[in-house]
């Protein structure tokens, strides 16, 4: 399984990511997920989230998740991009792509990866109060 993890302070460039996509003839499903920053945290308005990472551990933990994903589903490739630093409301903070032969396994693998990531990958966010 091809795998790619990017932890970056740069904006997520969706067109560039889509242009870099490669898939073999046997693949019939590409599932992409884009997580964006909401303008509220609880009942309070925010203007951004500030993301912090424990980089070495995050890379290690994501790779462990990629290993498990490869064992559970016939995924050809997975790419995960997570923003770090200040991310404004409505801007993407997370982009995930899973390529698989069929939609069922692509959806399931993508959902599982995001759920697990939120449990074990050491990334934290701090709301930045204020209106946009």
């Amino acid at each position: 399984m091809k795998r790619q993890l990017t932890l970056t302070t740069e904006p997520i460039d969706e067109p560039a990511l889509l242009a870099q996509r490669s898939l073999s003839d046997g693949m019939g499903a590409v599932v992409c997920f884009l997580g964006v920053v909401r303008g509220t945290e609880g009942n309070a308005s925010i203007r951004a989230l500030e993301y912090e990472v424990f980089q070495r551990m995050a890379e290690h933990q994501v790779n462990l998740l990629f290993d498990q994903l490869a064992q559970r589903w016939p995924v050809e490739s997975v790419r995960l991009v997570h923003r770090l630093g200040l991310v404004k409301v409505n801007a993407p903070s997370l982009w995930v792509e899973v390529v698989a032969p069929h939609r069922g396994e692509a959806f399931a693998a993508c959902q599982w990866l995001i759920d697990e990531m939120k449990q074990v990958v050491p990334i934290w966010k701090k709301p930045v109060p204020g209106d946009r």
Binding site: E52, M57, K118, V120
Partner: protein
């Protein structure tokens, strides 16, 4: 033995630092370390149940026996995405 402890997220606010060095008896566990840290940083006491711990880049539970030079990390539940 001496171990390095790194704090992440709001644990840095609770302790007032990003890193500390602790001296422990040989054979000490993460649980012993955490109790020692609570004496030095009392505001950690409120986080006992929710604290996650890692040695190096792997999660460990409180029974994990530490060794000289270990890099321990303490942090609250993760919030990626």
């Amino acid at each position: 033995m001496r171990v390095t402890v790194c704090f992440y997220s709001y644990f840095k606010d609770l302790t007032g630092c990003a890193q500390a060095v602790e001296t422990l008896p040989d054979g000490s566990t993460l649980d012993v370390l955490f109790h020692q840290l609570m004496l030095r940083f009392p505001r950690l006491a409120g986080m006992q149940k929710s604290t996650l711990m890692a040695v190096g880049v792997d999660y460990q539970d409180r029974t994990c026996v530490l060794k000289e030079g270990d890099a321990v990390s303490l942090f609250p539940p993760v919030q990626g995405g």
